[in-house]
């Protein structure tokens, strides 16, 4: 079986525990913040998604640094990075790859597509046709690609960082629910603060800052970090809380479609990653509450009434979090 991905250099350090995780995370964070000013929460979220083995959807208006964030994260880790610019005429085979007949060798040779990389930056994903968007589905969920009956496994870590413009913008195809569900979290960049924007003018006025970024970790390191996150303890109460929260979205009157079981799973993974990034080897309800809106909101469909009332799914999730009682602390 062809393994077309390039193996990265040796690990920068022998990662073993939480302390090492915090050290590496802080290096990556510092690296990204050199080009994305004033958005620590967004940077943190992208780290969470990386460590939770998830995919990140960055949604916002053009020009607020979506692609910059994706590229900065990709560059900070010394691993294979591919960028796909989604356009209406992009074909599925451009994403997954194609088998070409080699006249000399008299056999079909697989030419891997853009998805064969540790980090795939899908720029403006909602400008491609649904058919091409769907080509990403199998890769994102199963971490493998099947072309002409042959399955090619993708190397870990594998993370898709997609950016998209809000669907009200011209020339966009709304992302199907199934595909949205495959993104662990969605984040909005938002406009930078005045100070951050002024600083950006200074920094970015000169040579391209992004090009100066040096990798601070490699694929092996990231794989070890992911292993550490998997070992973070989750108590029965927290698990119940996660499920109750997902359940609450399914019965909320403002929502037409609630969170899927996959959403519960990803919420728990993200909470684990957040706990590890905060230096804890156990998950608190606070972690779940913090991750609830980014992980759940983009999967939910509001009812017509809620849309008319201009209620965002984020605010619905925030309401649920504020109302849903924790498993009673006072009962043993």
């Amino acid at each position: 079986m062809a393994r077309p991905t390039r193996v990265g250099p040796e690990a920068l350090s022998g990662v073993a525990g939480l302390d090492d995780l915090l050290e590496v995370a802080s290096l990556i964070r510092g690296n990204i913040e050199r080009v994305i000013e004033g958005k620590p929460e967004v940077v943190q979220l992208s780290l969470v998604v990386l460590l939770a083995e998830g995919h990140l959807l960055i949604e916002d208006v053009p020009g607020v640094g979506k692609t910059m964030l994706a590229k900065a994260l990709a560059r900070s880790i010394d691993c294979t990075v591919r960028r796909i610019q989604f356009t209406p005429d992009l074909l599925p085979s451009d994403v997954t790859g194609v088998s070409v007949y080699d006249m000399e060798a008299r056999e079909f040779e697989f030419k891997p597509g853009a998805v064969f990389a540790n980090i795939v930056v899908g720029d403006e994903i909602n400008r491609a046709s649904p058919k091409t968007q769907s080509a990403l589905l199998e890769a994102m969920e199963e971490r493998q690609v099947t072309v002409d009956g042959t399955t090619y496994v993708l190397e870990a870590p594998f993370m898709v960082i997609a950016t998209q413009n809000p669907i009200e913008m011209e020339g966009t195809y709304p992302l199907p629910e199934a595909q949205r569900d495959r993104f662990t979290a969605r984040v909005s960049m938002g406009y930078p603060s005045v100070e951050a924007e002024i600083e950006m003018l200074d920094t970015h006025g000169g040579p391209a800052a992004l090009d100066d970024l040096e990798p601070v970790a490699d694929a092996v390191t990231v794989r070890k970090l992911i292993d550490i996150v998997r070992g973070v303890h989750v108590s029965a109460d927290v698990k119940r809380y996660v499920v109750e929260l997902a359940n609450a979205t399914r019965s909320a009157p403002e929502l037409r479609l609630g969170a899927s079981p996959r959403a519960s799973l990803q919420l728990l993974r993200a909470s684990r990653a957040l706990a590890a990034l905060e230096g804890r080897d156990y998950v608190l309800p606070d972690d779940v509450q913090t991750m609830a809106a980014p992980v759940l909101a983009h999967r939910l469909l509001p009812t017509a009434e809620a849309q008319v009332a201009r209620r965002s799914t984020e605010s619905v999730v925030a309401d649920l979090v504020a109302r849903l009682p924790l498993p009673d602390l006072r009962k043993n």
Binding site: H233, S235, D237, V238, D281, Y282, V283, L284, P285, D286, Q289, V321, A322, R323, L324, P325, L326, D328, L329, R330, N332
Partner: protein, 789 residues
């Protein structure tokens, strides 16, 4: 109208409804308007105070002030300066009224006449309860607890009414309290917003307020019904709620105007004896040189609790005592005619029975007074002795003959007597054994009766006359208690001997009336009878002679031991019988008054009677019980709080520390957000109560320890005692709260009340669920049948 104003009105309504419990205490309804007026002014004061935005602390003060003004205006209106301002004389007038009210309480058994003194006390009490209910329900915002002061309204009548207060007043009181809860509950539900109603017909959405209301009403209805019905089916709880207020008088149903519902004569007797100062009740002139006792009525039914009177029944047309009184069954032997004119003194005696000498043949009296031949009672269903100026009695007194009595046989007992007065009674084995021991060796019924009397009167047996009678311990029979404690007054001696007579197979009953009283020093035919001459004695029935009285009470002024009831001097005395010597001592007492008042014995009994056994003690101790019970109920939450805290710290860990912290903050009125994690909850509490510095650090330590205990891998409990941290936070929370809140947290800890309420609510929910399931199971076959049809 604001919620506080609604609660004020509901509190007033609850008190007004609870007032219905006081109806059986009074004669007539004249008192009602004045008492309800007191409630009304307290409610008005509450409403005005709340409208004016008066500080909460001052609201009960305003209520009390207005109540005092109202009482002054109504009861001492003439003493007010300019018709409005209370003066020193107002206080004097009120004080005099209060004293007369206290005298009335001591003097009368219920129903008491609605004299101003009594009504003043009642209005003040009910007004005070209204202020208290307002304080608890509206000012302190503890609506459920307001049931406690309301209970006081029921405590007094149920303590003094022999038959309890009846079901209706209880239901009305419960409804009042429920309405108070309803106002508070609907306000609490209302905070969540307007409940949505389903637009679909037949739909049953969970949030429908009508279904919510339905559940509430069902619970309320079920609770009140259970409270009324259950006591009737539980042995040990008597039928007080279901029975009327007719005390010892039985059900009273179907008795019509020719019968009287009798209050317990023994209660009346007790009340008379325990008056602080003797009051003259009757003055009479008689041609009998040695007048015997005056009888009022008899108690012929023995229940487990004691002796009770049957309904008095007579034919209104034929049983009028003015015509003539038939000779009682079995009344034989020698008779002595007696003529007596009796003048009740100032209406102090207020009973439905006419005091008459033994064996009345004709009574000249105003009004409808009837003769009940069975109990040999002259009674009136429509009036009392209070309204009588005087009456005359012609009597034919039986002079029992010792020999005739000794010849009387058991099989000679008239069936009508044995049916009513000769039935075996249910007493403890001890009473049976003792009776058998005392009457051992006695052959005739008469000898047995004499032996029983001697058993009580002999000083060797250690019986002592004491107005503070030996009280039964819980579960103990009153008769046993007296026989073992050997302290009592005429009531105990008479009822116990009557019971032992029954055990010995002799028909018996307890008679209530008066000893002959004090002879006038100038006119030897005139006697005066005071409250302290009230007396009870046993009567035994002997074939051929009829009812004969005995006197087992060792020493009481004016009581006499009948000559026939002491053995003849020739009777051989059993040397082993401890009662022997008394026979010789009282043998010579052939006439009236007899020498039962052995000076030594009298001295001995008086000296053993403690100084507090003066009359009033018993009645006042009963009244004292009420505040003591209320105090106990009030202190209960405090005790529970302490016990819960102690139990928590017995096994300290972060979770119990968190529980304690949760309760402490709840007690000072903090509302936790159940969706907050420990850390977020602690932060919110610190922000809300302005906790900073070391207190905030202590709070954070508790929160972090809690989350670690709860969420970290097992076996990682943090070290260190969290108790100082929790105590520090509690102290800071209390210091930052108003005084009223601090007091409430200490005495009425809402966490404890909530915990107890939840526990109780869970039990009730379980019970009602079982009830529902049971009903469903029962009705299932019916429904199935209906479906197949």
């Amino acid at each position: 109208m604001s919620i506080k104003e609604q609660l004020t009105l509901a509190a007033g309504l609850a008190v007004a409804l609870a007032t219905s419990a006081l109806f059986p205490l009074f004669q007539g309804n004249d008192w009602l308007a004045k008492v309800l007026g007191a409630v009304l002014v307290v409610v008005a004061a509450g409403l005005v105070g709340r409208r004016l935005g008066l500080p909460r602390v001052l609201q009960p003060v305003l209520g009390l002030a207005v109540l005092f003004g109202y009482l002054s205006l109504v009861f001492a209106g003439s003493s007010l300066a300019f018709g409005l301002v209370p003066t020193a004389r107002t206080l004097d007038v009120l004080q005099t009224l209060v004293r007369s009210g206290q005298d009335d309480i001591a003097r009368f058994g219920p129903p008491v006449p609605a004299h101003d003194g009594m009504v003043l006390l009642t209005a003040a009490g009910v007004g005070g309860v209204a202020v208290l209910v307002d304080l608890v329900a509206v000012v302190l915002d503890r609506v459920a607890v307001a049931g406690l002061p309301l209970l006081v309204m029921f405590a007094v009548p149920s303590a003094v009414l022999p038959g309890g207060i009846g079901g209706l007043p209880f239901i009305l009181g419960a409804l009042g309290w429920l309405s108070l809860l309803l106002v508070e509950g609907s306000e609490r539900v209302g905070r969540w917003g307007t409940p949505m109603r389903s637009s679909l017909p037949g739909a049953r959405p969970g949030g429908d307020d009508s279904s919510l209301g339905r559940v509430g009403r069902r619970i309320g209805f079920a609770a009140v019904s259970l409270a009324v019905v259950i006591p009737a089916f539980i042995p040990g709880l008597d039928h007080r709620l279901l029975a009327g207020s007719d005390g010892g008088g039985g059900s009273g149903s179907g008795s019509g105007p020719n019968s009287a519902r009798t209050y317990n004569a023994l209660t009346t007797l007790r009340d008379q004896l325990t008056l602080p100062k003797p009051t003259t009740l009757l003055v009479y002139r008689t041609d009998d040189p040695h007048p015997d006792y005056l009888r009022m009525t008899t108690l012929g039914q023995f229940t487990g609790d004691g002796w009770k009177a049957a309904d008095l029944v007579a034919d209104r047309e034929n049983a009028k005592v003015q015509k003539s009184v038939p000779t009682p069954i079995g009344d034989g032997g020698a008779h002595q005619p007696v003529n007596m004119r009796i003048v009740p003194d100032h209406g102090h005696l207020d009973v439905h029975w006419l005091p008459v000498p033994f064996g009345p043949t004709k009574v000249d009296v105003e009004g409808t007074w009837l003769w009940d031949p069975s109990s040999q009672t002259v009674f009136s269903a429509s009036s009392t002795t209070k309204n009588l100026t005087s009456y005359s009695v012609r009597a034919s007194r039986v002079l029992p003959d010792r020999d005739a009595l000794a010849r009387a046989q058991v099989n000679g007992i008239d069936p009508s007597i044995s049916e009513l007065y000769g039935q075996a009674i249910d007493v403890s084995p001890y009473v049976k054994q003792l009776t058998a021991k005392v009457v051992k060796g006695q052959t005739s019924e008469y000898d047995k009766a004499v032996a029983l009397q001697r058993y009580f009167t002999s000083p060797l047996n250690g019986y002592v006359y004491n107005l503070r009678a030996s009280q039964p311990t819980p579960g103990q029979d009153p008769v046993d208690a007296f026989l073992l404690g050997k302290n009592g007054f005429c009531e105990q001696y008479a009822t116990t001997m009557a019971a032992m007579l029954r055990v010995a197979g002799i028909p018996s009953r307890v008679a209530v009336g008066f000893t002959p009283g004090t002879q006038d020093s100038s006119d030897k035919q005139v006697y005066s009878v005071t409250t302290h001459d009230a007396h009870a004695w046993p009567e035994a029935w002997f074939a051929g002679t009829g009812w004969v009285r005995f006197e087992p009470t060792p020493a009481v002024s004016g009581s006499t031991v009948p000559s026939y009831s002491v053995p003849a001097p020739v009777t051989p005395v059993n040397p082993t019988d401890p009662t022997g010597p008394s026979a010789a001592r009282t043998a010579g007492a052939g006439g009236h008054p007899a020498g039962h008042t052995d000076p030594d014995l009298l001295a001995a009994t008086r000296s053993t009677a403690s100084p507090t056994s003066r009359p009033h003690a018993q009645a006042s101790s009963r009244w004292l019980l009420v505040p003591v019970a209320v105090a106990l109920v009030l202190i209960l939450p405090l005790l529970l709080t302490l016990v819960r805290r102690r139990r928590r710290w017995a096994h300290p860990n972060p979770l119990t520390a968190w529980e304690q912290l949760w309760d402490d903050a709840t007690d000072v009125g903090y509302r936790w957000h159940p969706a907050d994690s420990p850390r977020a909850a602690a932060q919110r509490l610190a922000d809300s109560r302005g906790l900073t510095g070391p207190v905030a650090a202590a709070l954070e330590r508790v929160a972090v320890a809690t989350e670690r205990a709860r969420y970290a891998p097992p076996g990682r409990l943090p070290d260190g005692d969290l108790r100082p941290d929790v105590n520090e936070v509690r102290n800071a929370l209390r210091q930052g709260s108003p005084a009223l809140v601090r007091l409430r947290a200490a005495v009425f800890a809402s966490s404890t009340l909530g915990w107890a309420g939840r526990g109780l609510g869970d039990r009730i929910a379980d019970l009602t669920e079982r009830f529902d399931n049971g009903l469903a199971a029962l009705s299932r076959p019916l429904r199935r049948r209906a479906a197949t049809r």
